[in-house]
């Protein structure tokens, strides 16, 4: 089948790529745009390692064709922070040992970012429910939850200070 031009905005930059309709978004992000932050874990929409944000939704990019994202705004972990200037969530994951092997972390943080947009002051239970689509096999989740709650508190404090 013929390749198609797909236009999308990724981490604030307009991108045009050529893709076959059957190409999954995760592979286009990783292999055509060089964004290797989102990971391929299970590739069956269970683990959440491939989570990216698309038009204000947390999406498992292994379960979406790139052509479906035509016209969409996408944010990956690369769009949240840089090694020199970590995002508050990244800082807190580092601080609270929210990762061990790190494989689930980009998906986990991208998901947590969306969760805090929708619910800036979540309870522990809401955090656990909110990240239920992301699987971590190292941490037991305890420190991930701690990291997200701490990031939320920090973001809220910064917001208050700014007012």
């Amino acid at each position: 089948m013929t390749n198609q031009i797909v236009k999308m905005t990724v981490n604030g930059e307009k991108k045009e790529i050529l893709a076959e309709p059957r190409e999954l978004l995760i592979y286009v992000l990783r292999e055509k745009l060089g964004l290797t932050g989102p990971h391929v874990g299970c590739e069956t929409s269970h683990c959440g390692a491939c989570t990216v944000e698309i038009d204000g939704k947390s999406v498992k990019s292994c379960t979406m064709f790139a052509v479906q994202a035509e016209g969409a705004e996408i944010t990956t972990i690369e769009g949240l922070g840089t090694p020199d200037k970590l995002h508050v969530l990244q800082e807190n994951f580092k601080e609270h040992h929210g990762l061990q092997c790190g494989y689930c972390t980009p998906g986990m943080i991208t998901r947590a970012h969306r969760l805090l947009q929708e619910n800036p002051n979540p309870t522990e239970e809401e955090v656990r429910f909110g990240i239920a689509g992301n699987i971590c096999r190292c941490t037991g989740y305890q420190n991930i939850v701690k990291s997200i709650l701490s990031a939320a508190a920090e973001l809220n404090a910064a917001k208050e200070a700014a007012q």
Binding site: R22, E43, H46, T63, M64, F65, G133
Partner: protein
């Protein structure tokens, strides 16, 4: 896993989608949220030479509540169902059930239309729609028709919908009732081992109507009229509860799979059904 190659269509209106369906017949299929269809395509259990993406069709979106009638566009996502306050007030059972579907990421994409139209016995909305006595609007080359959720499901993945038709809306009359959607699953994201939707209305301290429907306990969703009849006129006492659960279990036909043998499923179903009835009664 890579799906078979396909041609991608993204019509901007329903007429456009219907004409692609008509042109390609069996070779075409619509995609809503894609979280059932894409996995099936990856496993090559679904071969779809022409994929019709419905995301740009504005007519298929949105929730309206007028004069007690709730109408939900097929492309409304579970995330939208959960976050719609008017819907949560008019039909809190949808809110409760939607929160138990899959996980957050899947709920941003998964739609009510896909969930009811797919005909997967594991989907939660079909049983819920039977409990609510909802109707599905189907639009095809011969026009528009409405089919009751209670008449829609024929067998696993087999429904009343014709190949050339698109399910565009679901609608039902909102009734103030005690409600519960109870679901047992092995883990977040799994389909139900057993699930049950219950609506109960009462007059004085007696049940004046009861609707009991079950998910993933047969190859189709099951509305148990006998369970409703067993509850009718009672105060949901222990004897009535026992009779209703027994009646509901008579109406299902679970099969053994990786969620357990039949005996186990009947046991889980009995507990889930009684919890759903008790919770709906406590809210009636």
């Amino acid at each position: 896993m890579i799906t078979s190659a396909f041609e991608y269509h993204r019509p901007s209106d329903l007429a456009g989608a219907l004409s692609v369906l008509e042109e390609h017949g069996d070779d075409a299929r619509v995609i809503a949220g894609g979280h059932s269809l894409i996995p099936m395509m990856k496993l090559r259990m679904a071969d779809v030479p022409h994929l019709i993406d419905l995301q740009d069709i504005a007519d298929l979106k949105g929730i309206t509540i007028t004069g007690g009638i709730v109408t939900i566009g097929a492309m409304t996502t579970q995330h939208e169902l959960i976050n719609n306050d008017a819907l949560a007030a008019a039909a809190p059972i949808i809110h409760e059930a939607s929160l138990q579907i899959a996980d957050p990421q899947v709920r941003y994409m998964g739609t009510i239309g896909g969930n009811v139209a797919n005909g997967d016995p594991g989907n939660d909305m079909p049983g819920l729609m039977q409990c609510l006595d909802a109707s599905f609007t189907l639009v095809g080359p011969d026009g528009t028709r409405s089919v009751k959720a209670r008449d829609f499901y024929e067998a696993a993945y087999m429904t009343e919908r014709e190949d050339g038709e698109i399910l565009t809306h679901i609608s039902f009359t909102a009734v103030e009732a005690g409600f519960a959607y109870e679901k047992q699953k092995r883990k977040i994201g799994d389909y139900a081992t057993a699930a049950c939707a219950v609506l109960i209305t009462k007059e004085g301290d007696k049940i004046s109507s009861a609707s009991v429907a079950m998910t993933n306990l047969s190859d189709v969703p099951v509305l148990s009229e006998a369970a409703g009849a067993a509850l009718f006129g009672t105060s949901c006492d222990a004897a009535a509860m026992k009779a209703a659960v027994a009646a509901a279990l008579e109406d299902i036909d679970p099969t053994e799979d990786n969620r357990g043998p039949v005996e186990f499923k009947m046991h889980v179903a009995g507990i889930i059904i009684s919890r759903a009835i008790a919770r709906a009664w406590s809210r009636a």
